[in-house]
Amino acid sequence: MSMAATPILQPVERENYLNKEYGAWSWLLTTDHKRIALLYLLSITFFFFIGGFFALLIRLELLTPAGDLVQADTYNKLFTMHGMIMVFFFLIPSIPAVLGNFLVPLMIGAKDLAFPRINLLSWYLYIIGGVMMMHCMLTGGVDTGWTFYAPFSTNFTNTKIVEAGLAIFVAGFSSILTGLNFVVTIHRMRAPGMTWSRLPLFIWAHYATSIIQLLGTPVIAVTIVLVAAERALHLGIFDPKLGGDPLLFQHLFWFYSHPAVYIMILPAMGVVTEIIACFSRKRIFGYHFVAFSSIAIAVFGFLVWAHHMFVAGISVYSALVFSFLSYAVALPSAIKVFNWTATLYKGSIHYDAPMLYAFGFLGLFTIGGLTGLFLSALGIDVHVTDTYFVVAHFHYIMVGGAVMGYLGGMHFWWPKISGRLYPEGWARLAALIVFIGFNLTFFPQFILGYMGMPRRYYDYSHMPEFQILNVLSTAGATVLGVGYLLPMFYFLWSMRYGKPASDNPWNAAGLEWKTTSPPPTFNFDEEPVVIWEAYNYEELDAPHEEGVPVAK
């Protein structure tokens, strides 16, 4: 709603999606995918800073070995709520629901998503889920960890499991509907000439993501229903005393929650692909390999869930199979990294802020991916699973990868979204601060993990030798916090004071840059016809090309 209060006040301005209508209702009842994207942007930013605040409290508690800042139960709720909010209310919707929502129709030359009202419904479901989660937190919270392991969650804890589960259940439908909308839109609404092999790789990544959202999310919904039923009716699904199996819960949970990691990282890969192409002024090396590796990740991602359970009591033979398949899913990610690197070769590389985030992504995602090889190795996983090694690994993927990608994308498309330029110097500084802060926070945790520090400990007075690494990590977290606050301030600042953006300030390829900044409500004044390949930077940079916008 604050978006409505900050229209772009220019005396002579074309009508666009931002200034077409004003007032709360024009936003709350909008079916414009771009406005819905901004509704999502506001909501996920809110949850990001709540989740981030919890993270800061966790890091402050771990500054000293003794459990002195908060109570044990409070700490347990903090890491639980941090995980639930960051996973379900920030990371999963982040790129798809904001950048995807905004860009999927623009990039394929459509007027809107296939189901605009369902798109609005998905935002409302997200908000209902979010309000339930906030209510749950404010009235006591949950202390199971975001993983809800049975039988602790079903038979032992007295915290608000059912309410938190219900919040995730509702938000899950938001995710399913977004995925459904993208799949139908990408299949049915591409502009004439926009063949599958001319699609930007951002679209391929979102297509793969949508498949996971559609096929995976119902499983977590079923799992939550089973947990609620077990709590209320003592059916004995997960309770061994009644003949149930607690490992069944883990299988169901990870069947969704492992692919969910790819819901977070695939869209970030899509963003980074666009940025690298633009700021190297090159077509992407091995377009088809990058495209199909997204699909391969989505498919193989469903076959590796039990690698979270190597010490849980599964048979050694199933552990063997899941270890092997985990290496299979690592391969497409490696292929992507090599193709991005090769794209830089003989490019004409610019160091604008989005590219700095993309470089950051490459570095951090590579470390996150390679440490995944450690965890997939059965003998090593036994030692490091459930320690800070795992915590560091998945933060390198989810924060180093997904959040870097998200921030890079926000900078890259901000001129299109807001019609304004952000301050470049500040943005480069923020990218640097985030990169340094991130590594300082999470790299020491790899060492802590191999040393044996278990995760989810609020008190480590039994092993004070872990303190120095924890102090480094906490120091890094404060730096990281600054790095995340900066963009919020200068983006807000730029909406009023930023220089107006041209239609294509980066001279980038892609249909989204061929309409105005910000775009009109139905995106294009006339339906575009695509007669060029994706990433046609050669034509864009040709000296005497007519009718192509040129960067300032």
Partner: protein, 345 residues
């Protein structure tokens, strides 16, 4: 200050060496991979930075390169996979003659009982150089028995046994952590693994024992009246338990299972689930009537009357009971159900 700032965990078991060797290999391999990628990125970023008037050279891709950089990493991955699997299989296969220790986890405490009868809480004394097999179960939620210095970890589940083993190589006191989040005092569920020289260990062992666990189990076996049906001849209403441990058992429903610790445990707590062929479903459940410690003692007793070596273990890990073991049909299983008398339900 640096004395208190170690960067590498202590190495105090045979497994630790195997895990560290693979870890170092991985550090080198992934270090080289990241060095390669980062060097290329930095080099390209510097060498091909934008210069006015110089345009990028468009390259479509290269199938040959794609094949190379898919195949080489895949081969490296397979080496890591195989090495990791070998370490894991060793670590998951307890030696047959390992000393057995029963562990019961509960919120938020580790209760340990040696086969010789010593009990400990949040401590485990073991001698240097002897294989020790932990047979673990939980009274409530899932816990995880983690000794970083030994590089071993195994979740401890309610309703079943899980097993891990180690051979300590260096005397000392090492951390024991609960590694699976288990509620409020999860971070208080820590303890010490005390590794002693054999002589010291014997001295410790000789103090304060309540007698071997199997003897305790024998008493419980008598007190609960188990021996009225599970007689030592073939005339009992339940199977004769002499020699049953580690053998294959034919079930009423046609399946064959190995009588390992988990099977014995299940038969005590849920007798109907896997009933031996030829016997009536007359045994009541002891779920809720016996504590986890008493189940452990009963299992230890049944094992003691099955094995020539009282402290010996099964041929393989309970969870590893190999399907290829020769099937030995028990004499009792062939005995038709007793016809005599009214059967008490």
């Amino acid at each position: 200050m640096l004395n208190n700032f170690p960067l590498w965990p202590q190495q105090a078991s045979t497994t630790a060496g195997h895990v560290d060797a693979l870890y170092i290999f991985l550090l080198i391999v992934t270090g080289m991979m990241s060095l390669l990628v980062f060097t290329l990125i930095v080099f390209f970023a510097a060498r091909y930075r934008h210069r006015p008037g110089v345009r990028a050279e468009q390259i479509e891709g290269s199938t040959a390169l794609e094949i190379v950089w898919s195949t080489i990493p895949f081969l490296i991955f397979m080496v890591i996979f195989a090495w990791g699997a070998v370490v894991y299989f060793k670590e998951r296969t307890p030696p047959t003659d390992a000393a057995e220790v029963y562990v019961v986890a509960k919120q938020w405490m580790w209760k340990v009982e040696h086969a010789e009868g010593q009990r400990e809480i949040n401590e485990l004394h073991v001698p240097v150089g002897r294989d020790v097999k932990l047979i673990m179960t939980s009274q409530d939620v899932i816990h995880s028995f983690y000794i970083p210095a030994f590089r071993i970890k195994q979740d401890v589940l309610p309703g079943r046994y899980t097993v891990e083993w180690f051979r300590a190589t260096k005397p000392g006191v090492y951390h024991l952590f609960c590694a699976e989040y288990c509620g409020t005092q999860h971070s208080g569920m820590v303890g010490d693994i005390v590794v002693q020289e054999p002589a010291q260990y014997e001295a410790w062992m000789n103090g304060g024992s309540t007698g071997p666990l199997s003897v305790t189990g024998e008493k419980i076996f008598a007190e609960l009246g188990c021996s009225t049906c599970h007689r030592t001849d073939t005339q009992g209403r339940g199977p004769n338990l002499q020699g049953v441990f580690g053998k294959a058992v034919q079930l009423e429903d046609g399946r064959t299972v190995t009588a390992d610790e988990n099977y014995l445990r299940e038969c005590i707590l849920d007798p109907g689930a896997k009933r031996v062929k030829g016997f009536q479903p007359i045994m009541p459940t002891f779920q809720g009537l016996v504590t986890e410690e008493q189940v452990n003692a009963l299992v230890a007793y049944i094992k003691s009357i099955s094995l020539s070596k009282p402290t010996g273990g099964a041929k393989t890990d309970a969870s590893l009971a190999a399907p290829g073991d020769p099937v030995l049909t028990r004499a009792q299983a062939k005995v038709p159900a007793q016809s005599n008398g009214s059967q008490v339900q």
